[in-house]
């Protein structure tokens, strides 16, 4: 039973990582920037969810507000920070992105306090279900369902709609897509908007799961997301999902097998370094690192 509980935890975390990282994958696929500040978007989403939920009394309204606010923030990051830096080496926008994350994290601490903010009413997180002796919380189910909806939705959007197909075309062949009338700049904004909204959803779910949003919420997750997108083959949405689930499970079981000599959070980086050394181009090998 203990091992099954670990699997439940692992899959939950894996789904959360997947929803969080998919925005990074989208940005990397399109612009070849490692968007570290995505974690600040994630944290902003978590804060907005909690604050609006507390003010209005409705958690759904909190999520809605977060989904509206974070795309604007994500698009502003693109317009004000990345766009002017695209002409430099890729490590330049990345360092700027790290700077922005550090800045935002401190800003959250200053504005909302070291202790963070919590939901006033969060009956949701204490609801649990029992399946043949395995305890699963309502939040865990919500996270897994959200991940399923998000990835199915993304798949349908990019294969069945005109905008989605244009988006995919721009990612693979920007010039040819432009010659067919797809505006590459609009695609970039769309990309940041969708990725940021998904990060906000992940942030809100983590806030519910922990019943707490503190300034460090996005910190470790952000660097783990870097590991995930590299493991997932850089720019591949499906790869991101697989890598997230694998990492979630490895972390859950890793804590009992190697937790004695390595921090749980360091496991992702060990995997990242090993993979980068063996296959610098990632598993799929679509692009070179």
């Amino acid at each position: 039973m203990y091992y099954i509980d670990l699997a439940v935890t692992g899959i939950t975390f894996g789904c959360m990582y997947a929803v969080m990282s998919v925005g990074l994958t989208l940005v990397y696929g399109l612009l070849r920037i490692l968007h570290v500040a995505h974690a600040a978007v994630f944290a902003l989403g978590a804060y907005v969810t909690v604050l609006v939920a507390d003010a209005s009394g409705s958690i759904a309204l909190g999520f809605l507000a977060a989904i509206i606010v974070t795309p604007l923030f994500g698009m502003a990051i693109y317009r004000l920070l990345y766009e002017p830096l695209l002409k430099y080496r890729p490590d330049v926008p990345m360092i700027a992105s790290v700077g922005l994350l550090v800045l935002m994290q401190d800003a959250f601490r200053i504005v909302f306090g070291e202790q963070g903010v919590t939901f006033h009413r969060n009956a949701f997180s204490f609801t649990t279900f029992n399946f043949a002796g395995i305890t699963v919380s309502a939040i865990q189910i919500a996270i897994v369902v959200t991940a399923a909806v998000v990835f199915t939705g993304l798949h349908l959007f990019t294969t069945r709609t005109r905008i989605g197909v244009g988006w995919r075309a721009t990612v693979s062949r920007p010039q040819i897509a432009a010659s067919f009338g797809v505006d590459p700049i609009k695609v970039r904004y769309l990309n940041f908007a969708i990725g940021s909204a998904l990060a906000a959803v992940a942030g809100g779910l983590v806030a519910l799961l922990n019943n707490l949003v503190d300034p460090t919420i996005g910190f470790v997750v952000s660097y783990k997301a870097l590991a995930i997108i590299v493991l997932g083959g850089l720019g591949s949405v499906r790869g991101t999902l697989v890598a997230s689930l694998v990492l979630g499970l490895v972390e859950a079981y890793g804590t009992i097998f190697i937790g004695a000599w390595l921090d749980r959070d360091a496991i992702a980086f060990l995997a990242l370094i090993v993979l980068l050394m063996i296959r610098p181009q990632g598993f799929t090998g679509a692009r070179t690192a």
Partner: protein, 282 residues
């Protein structure tokens, strides 16, 4: 001189060594490292173990230097495999791996760190003078390297590896040399740091500290020794001089880092240079 001033000057000296050594790797040779804190930490822990075992200051410093450099050369091999932003990600990983490893090691003090490190016997002021001498030597060495053939090769590799290779420069060897030298100095700084604090925990060497070092290098002007020294001194003193900044340290560092990259990618060094040109021109 008050104990407070002595400790501030010591920290300034240590940060100068760290920023200048990071500048050799990232500025001269163009290999972005966001894990410099790990090499600093490796040196610090090595110095502690050597100090506890032998109580000899020179031995502790040698241990710190060698450990920092060995780890640096291992990470340097990564720079032969991955480039640019992926090298930066790898070094972030190294930093998290280092702190994640140390926190779980009972023989390295675990989460609690190591306290009661034997004193050097030089006193706080003596330690400060030793730190300043090493800082001065590091700055002089950096100027020397910058003007040497090796510095030329570093820059060639940093600008364009392919072009450097056509000139017969062994890019891999120079990248390893940059990592080996830069991280040796970071290890040395770690040794000096343990003499100064006599207490270390893994938290002092975390990724945020590495980002602060990178901020010093970028704000000072990546590749410029004098700019980086100026930024390291200024950014270390700023939170002390202005109390209000102390509470917002990361906000200020992160904000300056973003602003400098976005608006003045050459940092203070480029600003000073253009100012000189403008004054002379009129």
């Amino acid at each position: 001189m008050s104990a407070y001033q002595v400790s501030i000057i010591s920290i300034v000296g240590i940060n100068v060594i760290l920023a200048v050594s990071l500048n050799m790797i990232s500025g001269f040779c163009g290999q972005v490292s966001l894990g410099h804190g790990a090499f600093f930490g490796a040196g610090a822990y090595a110095a502690v173990l050597a100090m506890v075992a032998t109580a000899s200051v020179p031995l502790a410093l040698v241990a710190a230097l060698v450990t920092g450099s060995l780890l640096g050369i291992v990470v340097g091999f990564a720079s032969l495999r991955v480039r640019s932003d992926f090298l930066a990600v790898t070094t972030i990983g190294v930093n998290f791996l280092f702190t994640g490893f140390v926190r779980k090691q009972a023989w390295l003090g675990g989460e609690m760190g190591i306290s009661g490190i034997p004193p050097t016997g030089l006193g706080a002021a003596g330690n400060m003078i030793m730190i300043l001498l090493f800082a001065a030597a590091t700055i002089a060495f950096s100027f020397y390297v910058s003007r040497s053939w090796m510095g030329f090769a570093f820059r060639a590799v940093g600008e364009d590896e392919g072009a450097a290779a056509t000139l017969g420069i062994n890019a891999g060897a120079y990248k390893l040399a940059a990592f080996g030298i830069g991280t040796a100095l970071a290890g040395l700084a770690g040794g000096l740091y343990t003499f100064f604090t006599q207490f270390i925990t893994a938290d002092a060497f975390d990724f945020i500290f590495s980002v602060m070092l990178m901020a010093m290098v970028v704000i000072g002007g990546i590749g410029s020794t004098s700019g980086v020294v100026f930024a390291a001194v200024g950014l270390t003193l700023l939170p002390e001089a202005i109390r209000f900044v102390n509470n917002y340290r990361l906000l200020v560092y992160g904000g300056l880092l973003v602003l400098v990259i976005r608006l003045a990618p050459g940092g203070l060094a480029a600003m000073a240079r253009s100012l000189v040109i403008r004054v002379r021109g009129t």
